[in-house]
Amino acid sequence: MIEVRGLHKHFGKLHVLKGIDASIQKGEVVVVIGPSGSGKSTFLRCLNLLEQPTEGEIIFEGINITSKENNINLYRQKMGMVFQQFNLFPHLTVMGNITLAPMKLKNLSKEEAEEKALNLLRRIGLEDKATSYPSQLSGGQKQRIAIVRALAMSPDVMLFDEPTSALDPEMVGEVLDVMKELADDGMTMVVVTHEMGFAREVGSRVLFMDDGKILEEAKPAELFNNPKHPRTKEFLAKVL
């Protein structure tokens, strides 16, 4: 579904991604782990071109989206993204947050968009928050709404950048539960996280990144129980 070939990213002189090759299959949950500053977020943000790669190609559903001829906005509609800081739109209600993009981009009528939004909200048990503003929600609720906002575009893949890192510990579970359900429904997901429990339980594959490269990748059980690379061992020893 997504093929990454020879991906490099520089921020000025800083060489952040140093040649990444990866492929993500339909229905997979790929978890990306690694120390802070290793380039995990940058890698994820290159997948939907929120960061412009300096070099390399991203092939999404057979189309080279890094090529200038392709309209990235069309492909972003099929790649939902969830941010660490939620980034809900504070001037819109929950309903407004969820329905804006489907109405503007998919020409859904207000009724259609709201019906779809309500169905999604029901799935996460927040239909009573439809008319609330983001400032009236808890962190966990905000992040679940942010997930629903992305889902409302019916994406083929969901990208998560540390979706639980900004949450109070007691709210981490409710967000991970929603993500787990999504995975069970067969959603293709790329998840940057420090939640090793989630990686182990839900991940189909784990990528370990260090210093702008993927040093190791394997099924979770194998990578956690039997890491090959010394840097992976060192990292896991610290976080587990």
Partner: protein, 223 residues
Amino acid sequence: MDFSFLRGYYVYFFTGTANTVILALFTVFLGVIIGTFIALMKISRNKVLSFIATAYVEFIRGTPLMVQLFIIYYGIPLPVPDVTILGMDMSRFIPGVMALSINSGAYVAEIIRAGIQAIDRGQMEAARSLGLTHSMAMRYIILPQALRNILPALGNEFVVVIKESSIVSIVGIADLMFNTNVVRGALYKPMEPLMVAALIYFILTFTLSKLLGKAERRMRSDD
């Protein structure tokens, strides 16, 4: 102190005040249009546009309004009609409004730019990640939020323009300051007419500030 002259001369203050308000209204209206374009140019990724906008803002803010006024009034022969509307000579009024709004536009541009750039980067990113184009994201996500920062500051700019506009009296626009000087000259009274003018300016700006404060509090409590 003797204010009995007001009985005979109040019309001067009255029309002067009206003209000052009209002048300020036109100035702010045009200043907002100019300022919006300059602000959008300044934050655009096009280096040429953003350079032009930056140069404009820096030049206007770095030179006295009086110099700008004289350049436009005396230095640039504008094809302005020699007609009088509402007692105002258009051949003076139009260059006056132009100078004021070109000047105000630079300040408004900074107000708008700051209002837009105060919005968290994550808002644009979230909007773009959904597939919205840059201009849709601006229109539906960034600008509505920026407006909350911009509107109160624009109100202040209106107050500033009311005061600063007094300078156009030197090119003969019959605003409050000009008419005050007319009364002063006619009466050989140095002080009293100026005190009346000061009081009127103060009432205008003070009332406006209070109204703006109220509107702003109302807007804040909306969310």
